[in-house]
Symmetry: C2
């Protein structure tokens, strides 16, 4: 399958690499062409616009930072829909507002394009889970691409349901990370050995991916991203907005969002999400 990918950031670049490796003829487009240099050297083709890219391939994958970016790339003047043949398969793997994803899927369908929302979880290190919303037939067509891109691929229902699942994922993940941060801070206050705490707590009912991955980073004060606080905040804002629309109360998520806001207020928006620890520490800090 001829594939195009738009967006070669922290997530998009390795995905493009995986598609090449799986043997798909690949065309790329991204705002900053320099980012594509390595892929072009390895055989990928360049397209000057999303529309030009869409005209040259059977399937388009987008991996972009936010809802406005996806709307512009898909439905803008030179966007994917402007260049698309009927039967084009479009897969948006960005994390965006589920309502916007539903609206885009309708506009795509009107242009004869099957659009799947297929956000991912797992970050750039290790295995990636893909949560897919959209028409079941399009999901089946996308099977070979998903196989090259993720370890666990789950079909979640109609348009927008992949994005809703991603927001559920972010609510659970961010809350789990915050719980880990409180545990790390309490353990440090009590003078417990950091590695022994992770070993002991990781052996029972409190075990999680966040504990195993991020507690050691917090303990050695390694706040490099991983997944940036400001992107996490974007996702939590989407989750809180969707929850409010649905009448679902998320008190913990509201506290977590507040803590990340404190990290951002202290200039930490580009840090990894494990820097939520520093917001808790700031609460404890006394003057004098």
């Amino acid at each position: 399958m001829r594939v195009g990918i738009i967006g070669l950031g922290i997530m998009g670049a390795p995905m493009a690499r995986n598609l090449l490796r799986a043997g798909h003829p690949l065309t790329v487009h991204t705002r900053t062409r320099a980012r594509a240099a390595g892929l072009l050297a390895d055989g990928a083709a360049w397209a000057d616009s999303p529309a030009a890219l869409a005209a040259a391939v059977d399937a388009v994958v987008t991996m972009l930072p936010d809802t406005p970016a996806v709307e512009a790339v898909m439905a803008g003047p030179d966007g994917v829909l402007a260049g698309a043949r009927a039967e084009l398969l479009a897969i948006d793997m960005s994390t965006i507002d589920p309502a916007a994803a539903r609206a885009l899927a309708e506009r795509a369908a009107a242009a004869g394009v099957a659009l799947l929302d297929a956000p991912v979880s797992g970050g750039e290190q290790g295995a990636i889970a893909i949560m897919v919303g959209g028409a079941a037939a399009a999901f089946d067509r996308a099977g070979p691409l998903f196989a090259a891109l993720g370890k666990r691929v789950t079909y979640m229902g109609g348009p927008g349901q992949g994005q809703m699942t991603k927001l559920v994922n972010q609510v659970v993940g961010a809350g789990t990370l915050a719980a880990v941060a409180e545990g790390v801070l309490l353990a440090a206050g009590a003078g417990l050995d950091p590695a022994a705490v992770v070993e002991a707590v990781g052996g029972g009912a409190a075990a999680s991916w966040m504990l195993a991955e991020h507690a050691p980073r917090m303990q050695r004060r390694d706040f490099a991203p991983g997944f940036m606080v400001r992107l996490q905040q974007k996702d939590l804002r989407l989750a809180l907005a969707s929850a409010e629309r649905l009448g679902v109360p998320l008190p913990l998520t509201a506290v977590v969002q507040l803590l990340f806001t404190a990290v951002e207020a202290r200039g930490g928006g580009e840090l990894g999400t494990q820097a939520i620890l520093t917001a808790l520490e700031a609460l404890a800090k006394r003057s004098g």
Copy 2:
């Protein structure tokens, strides 16, 4: 090693069974003798008091509901210390206040008894992690018993540090569970397929033991314990008290504790901790 066990509740009874199975001559004592019937039929001996039990064995294991119960059984008039020979090994596997555990270890040492605090995590289903505080030499002597009782055994430092680790564990575990509950509620509000949500979210960065074990229970409204809300509350009160003593802020844990209080206020103290979902649901409920 001749072992005695005091407390044959939801955790103590299977531990007694494991000690018998490992070939240790076993003496038991518990408030309600009827609870010991099965063990006595299988070869365990009965002791009429903690003191009498302590006099008959090399090591005493206690598994009791709270700090006052442990203080009474260890240091009360007919307690373990009243009957103990010097060199007795005492292992308290209850979850109690770390400061109380330190004080008891001092009183025990004065009577020639080595007391370890060794609370557990993992619940009655599946593998158990043991977190141990106390003298390193006593920890070494207890090795064969721990091997029969738990899957992962971690030495955490001096007296009370096992209990501190358990409180860290409860902070992380309860926060993770609450995050899972918010995710389950958001997913239900969005009409997502329950099993697909657990599969998708469980494949990425939001994966946890709590998600795998308790999300399905929440989804089918199975609120049977497992681990009871009122015991979880006891542990979170201890954690918040220790945290305040240490100057460590735990805002999420405070919210989680509040949600569990709401479950208790609605008569759910004996439900499993996954019933925290019902406190979130109550927030969403409208009159009329």
